[in-house]
Symmetry: C2
Subunit: 495 residues, 2 copies
């Protein structure tokens, strides 16, 4: 990333004039991202020696078992992450799918040349009490601009877990309001909830799916079932857990069998709702990912989601679609559930990661009637919203959704070819857009592939028991896909 | 806030040279904060007409029941918040106690004139996997610099609720490791936790106190008992809840009675630990605020906290002190529990608000042995840490802890005088540093005082049933305290 004089950048000059006219002082501009041409691996192992040294230092202060290496974010650029040992990796994992425009995008760097944005950063308000004058406009022009069709209300939060936790609460409140009807709140409800007991703190449940991941705070964790290490030793709510479809691939060769799988899983959902109603823990809501990510990039068909919505409606349970990882464009649509042609909008859609802050979209039914029911000190972060605003502009101006489609096609076709070429190592290529995954034959082989890909300059991630997941940024293009595929082939040949 | 040329600021010039030597281009500096001399109220009601208009607009998008007015943060300065209708209020509530240096502090504005800091903002990493090269140093030089004595480990998070939630998890893991001893993890534990059942998801509990506030996500909410509206309709864990001391004021005239109150409450804690052990829900940890804030600014004596720690140790329960609101200097010490002369450090101390990001300090025992047990995508936010770094420097350089002591004394003495002057309206002045509160005779009078204070240019907050809380920034000085007291007297006279 070089810092250019203004005279070298005619576009920046025009932008500068516009900003000067708007009363903004002294704006300097970063040049367009100069990405490396290809990955460069300089050390025999990753982490290299400098990362190992830093890891030792950090280990004196906190747990470091999950750290892969230490990055040099000043030197990272576009799709390439650079580590402290000078390794330059093509990053198709992007901080667990949370970097939409790659590293050091010039448009994001320029944002904070604007004094107004700096003031937004340093004056963080309690948004639920003293929002800034621009907040209604920002919500309208930024977040509602990308609202899932049919959902015109937004509640902002900080991260994915607290978005799901608060969405649960909105669902519980909505459900109890239906139960209560026109009856007045009783003294018993008020007093019992203060000591964590029914009827005020009712035994309601949220149905989730095996393999699901919805976060790690205690409520969210009760709906997470991807790996035991996330859940062991932590008390949990007794909430129902249904089977998520497990498909045979390729899909087009297993249509009848996969359809049966859908039906079996949907029947289980309906059955569990009945069982938990009888158990005195009615299902207020159902939470589901459009693609189970942490759990192994498990897909379900549009028909499955349509059926699930019907069951929810029949039973008066809200349907919450968790788009924390799938949201933001990389599945080829801004929200993955747009692929499902649902009969009506889902009740609640949660987001975070690529959207920089957390939150959930919903309709009027899920707006609490009383103040302070859904509330916390910060309720989101305007400093993140201004970054999101610029990200959405860049997605539009640089036509990044088209990018996702074309680069995704190259990557998926390539993975399908590799699967045919190496049937003893790979199978079940799947996904949408650039949001793709492929299985290896077992966890050990998967781990070896992911490690070798890294040593060949490609940063991927594992998920589930034996899947490799691809989560490139939206600026990932066809030529990046070809680099990934070339290096992947090289790794597979070497095994 | 004026934007000065560099030639007018010799200190800035020296700073600029230093930065230029460090390779930073084009840094401009803000002048020192030019605060208004006193509050100015221009509208007959607050919210004024422009706030009402914006509220209508926001109401189309989300719940607005808790909003007081819309602020103009560009025009707010130091201790003064300005609203969109031109009202300038002396802010002694500071976004629910989360603004340490007031609004638009020049040192914070200057931070983002540094390109390096901007890169930190726009390249947000998954800190648990790919931290930046400066992360170990930042934790060491910033967060550990203010670590409570005896706690040398830090886990960073995003907000107060998720700090408490993750601290609970650390405590549960620690507790189960003690129970497990040298025994190996069983298949039964692994399988049962995946379906939310014991023994893998054991029925452990966290003991909390009546009137406590520890957040609103489902785990944290199970330990929150300040107001029913926070808890109604939300399922909860059956965890024990003990009485928090309720003192008679003035403290020096009620020593014996308050001591008895301490003993009664401590006996209740010991008893509940026994009861919940027998119930099969052993108390893994006890969570407590040094001053119950949301619940009414309820204090407990150092002797109470010492006794509580002894009970925890006797029963093998961890002591978690929640300093989310009390931490950061306004009680006269950086951590309020430093006032308590505990025999040994608490096991876990959580923080957020004034510290810009969340997290918890702990010792080696609470570092999970396996990776991914305490984890999420972001694990904090380096962009907030650079703000915290500057805040801590300013606290030191501007000797703000001395400020808190002197301004706090003026404010507390003044409140005690007002209490004597208006015994039918006020009582029970209490608190430490500038972290002060006074009770009014009932909730209705309290609400009227808070509303009238606002119309007289003073932004305070209510808490509990009938308390008024003062949460000024650390830059709040003696002359600000005198303005608050003058206006408060005027309001009390008018009632």
């Amino acid at each position: 990333m070089r810092f250019l004089g203004l005279n070298k950048l005619p576009i920046a000059q025009a932008h500068l004039r516009a900003l000067n006219n708007a009363g903004v002082n002294s704006v300097k501009f970063y040049s367009a991202t100069a990405e490396p041409k290809e990955p460069v691996v300089r050390t025999k192992t990753i982490p290299g020696p400098k990362s190992v040294e830093l890891n030792k230092k950090l280990g004196e202060i906190q747990s470091t078992g999950s750290i892969q290496y230490f990055a040099d974010y000043e030197k990272s650029s576009g799709n390439y992450i650079q580590d402290v040992d000078g390794n330059v990796l093509l990053d198709v994992y992007t901080q667990i799918s949370s970097v939409p425009l790659g590293y050091n995008h010039p448009r994001l760097l320029n944002l904070f040349k604007d004094d107004k944005n700096i003031k937004t950063l340093v004056n963080r308000p309690a948004l639920g009490v003293f929002p800034g004058k621009e907040w209604p406009d920002k919500l309208q022009s930024i977040l509602l601009q990308v609202a899932p069709k049919g959902l015109n209300k937004i509640t902002t939060m900080m991260c994915g877990s607290c978005s799901n936790e608060n969405a649960f609460k909105s669902i519980f409140i909505w459900y109890q309001n239906k139960v209560r009807g026109t009856a007045k709140l009783t003294e018993d409800e008020i007093c019992s909830c203060m000591v964590n007991m029914p009827p005020g703190a009712p035994e309601l449940s949220i149905l989730s799916f095996k393999g699901a991941f919805h976060g790690r705070t205690l409520g969210a964790l009760s709906t997470t079932h991807s790996k035991y290490i996330h859940k062991l030793d932590v008390p949990s709510f007794d909430w129902p857990i249904a089977s998520f479809p497990q498909y045979k691939y390729p899909l087009e060769e297993n249509v009848a069998e996969n359809k049966k799988e859908d039906e079996k899983c949907l029947a289980e959902v309906a059955d569990l709702i009945e069982v938990y109603k009888k158990k005195g823990k009615p299902v207020a809501g159902v939470i589901i990912e459009p693609i189970q990510s942490e759990g192994g990039d498990n897909e379900a068909s549009p028909e499955f989601f349509q059926g699930l919505q019907r069951i929810c409606k029949q039973n008066g349970s809200a349907l919450l679609i968790d788009e924390v990882q799938t949201g933001g464009g990389s599945t080829g649509k801004f929200w993955c559930h747009e692929h499902f042609n649902l009969e009506s909008p889902p009740d609640v859609v949660t987001f975070s990661k690529k959207l920089q802050l957390g939150g959930y979209f919903h309709n009027d039914d899920f707006v609490p009637k009383e103040p302070y029911r859904i509330f916390n000190t910060w309720m989101g972060d305007p400093g993140k919203v201004i970054i999101l605003e610029e990200i959405l502009k860049v997605i539009k101006e640089e036509k990044l959704m088209g990018n996702v489609a074309s680069a995704g096609k190259v990557l998926k076709d390539g993975l399908l070819s590799l699967e045919k070429e190496f049937p003893n190592l790979l199978n079940s290529t799947r996904g949408r857009g650039t949001y793709l995954a492929v299985n290896s034959v077992n966890g050990k082989v998967r781990d070896s592939i992911v490690a070798n890909l890294k040593l060949n300059g490609i940063q991927t991630g594992g998920c589930g028991e034996n899947a490799i997941r691809f989560r490139p940024a939206l600026v990932f293009k066809e030529h990046h896909a070809n680099i990934v595929l070339d290096r992947f082939r090289k790794v597979l040949k070497s095994l």
